[in-house]
């Protein structure tokens, strides 16, 4: 019995390991090789220049610092990013934001990059029939504003972490695709019918590794047919 189970288990482990198809193309590897070579050449030329610049900067820093301390405000240090505190519901579901829209974002887990993250947003109260729901982000301290795209309405009873369902929280659940093209302090906002109903502040970084940048395979477009009958996606903003 145990041996038989071990064989079945091993087969299942292999199936699980081979679940993801290989999407890497030879062209990707060659592009990386070229980029690496270019980076190395650049690094060598910058290294010499860097040493010279460091010397100049060290001297300049010594001279400028006393002047900065005399200026009102004591210099040009950027304001710290005061992020929204997450709320945990049940054993794993985490949200930030409010009062009328909550975002399933755990601080420190989203990175800047060219491709969108999938963000589950809960509107409480939900939009009425025919009202538009919208999500967008703005980088605080800049004019950068990126509109999110509504992917679909979601049924929370289909959201799992391992085998545990998302908690039955009230309101309407929607899946948005949202890009953060650069690192910084971002405000994420949600509206119903053009009226702001909730927002939160998150700190977006470039991540510890290049691989931490989101891409299509990491944040797959879900195979969920949109079931929007009431609220509608907004026109492009």
């Amino acid at each position: 019995m145990s041996d038989e189970f071990d064989v079945i288990l091993r087969q299942a482990i292999r199936q699980e390991a081979y679940r993801a198809p290989v999407l890497l193309e030879p062209g990707d590897l060659e592009a990386r090789l070229t980029a690496d070579a270019r980076r190395q050449r650049k690094r060598r030329s910058w290294a010499a220049l860097g040493a010279a610049v460091l010397g100049v900067a060290a001297v300049a820093g010594i001279m400028i610092r006393p002047l900065q301390s005399l200026a009102p405000g004591g210099g040009t240090t950027p304001a710290p990013c005061v992020i929204s505190m997450p709320t945990k519901h049940g054993s794993w579901w985490i949200e930030i934001g409010g009062p009328g829209a909550f975002f399933n974002v755990e601080p420190g887990t989203l990175y800047a990059g060219p491709n969108p993250w999938l963000i589950i947003t809960r509107y409480d109260p939900d939009a009425e029939n025919g009202q538009e729901v919208a999500l967008w982000v703005e980088r605080i301290g800049s004019a950068e504003r990126i509109a999110g795209t509504l992917n679909s309405r979601m049924d929370p009873s289909n959201i799992y972490r391992f085998s545990e369902r998302a908690p039955a929280l009230p309101g309407g659940w929607y899946l948005f695709e949202q890009r953060f093209p650069s690192a910084g302090c971002w405000r994420i906002s949600a509206a119903i019918g053009g009226r702001l109903v909730g927002s939160a502040v998150i700190d977006i970084t470039y991540g510890p590794l290049p691989s931490a940048h989101p891409n299509a395979s990491f944040a797959p477009t879900p195979r969920i047919a949109p079931t929007l009958e009431g609220p509608t996606a907004p026109s492009a903003s």
Binding site: F5, D6, I8, L9, R10, Q11, A12, I13, R14, Q15, E16, A17, Y18, R19, A20, V22, L23, L24, P26, D28, L29, E30, R32, L33, D36, I94, N104, V105, E106, G108, T109, L110, W117, L118, I120, N158, I159, Y160, R161, F162, S163, A166, P208, L209, P210, S211, A212, N215, S217, F218, A219, P220, P222, R223, I224
Partner: protein, 190 residues
């Protein structure tokens, strides 16, 4: 005649092509070993994107360090153990809080295995990363425990005991799962 597109190149020829820095050799390396390297990395990292990055890093490492491989017949285990080391360096201190929609929406009844796929995924996710690495090298890559021991810098006894422990934990988690123990999980998790 180029070697691009070939999937049957002998190790010796492939290693020779790599040593001569023929870019087509990377293509062959990807075709011949890509799926297995990615499978090992995926079992360790539990993230498709990270597994793909590990695959790319492994092949590029092989390209750069092929001269350190003494015996061309050892190419496959060398690639797999390199991939494992890269994967172990890549592991993250946290899990991105993005719900796996694949896992959430796929029907387990499509899986012919008597073991519920979601339950198995959960059980594998619960294993420590190093234990997953041992499992990947043994159960997916079919490497002997002596070789895994060298690759991971542990004694063979430690590897054997980790393997036993991993299997016991998987068995325990799967048998504890009500979806598995009640009706073997077939189509019940929807």
């Amino acid at each position: 005649m180029g070697i691009r597109g070939r999937t049957d190149l002998a190790n010796e020829s492939l290693v020779a092509e790599l040593r001569q820095r023929h870019a087509d050799a990377l293509d062959v390396l990807l075709r011949q070993h890509g799926a297995e390297i990615q499978a090992v990395a995926y079992l360790i990292l539990r993230n498709e994107h990270d597994a793909e990055e590990t695959l790319a890093d492994t092949l590029l490492t092989a390209w750069r360090k092929i001269d350190t491989l003494r015996d061309p017949d050892r190419l496959r285990p060398w690639l797999l153990t390199t991939a494992t080391r890269i994967a172990l360096r890549r592991r993250r201190p946290f899990r991105p809080h993005v719900v796996s929609l694949d896992a959430a929406t796929e029907m387990p009844s499509a899986d012919p295995s008597p073991i519920d796929r979601l339950a198995l995924q959960e059980a594998i996710n619960l294993l420590p990363t190093r234990m997953r690495a041992v499992l990947a090298l043994h159960d997916v890559a079919d490497l002997p425990t002596s070789e895994i021991a060298v690759a991971l810098g542990r004694s063979e006894n430690t590897i054997k005991s980790q393997l036993r422990e991993a299997r016991a934990r998987l068995r325990q988690t799967l048998l504890d799962d009500p979806m598995v123990s009640n009706d073997r999980g077939r189509g019940s998790r929807t």
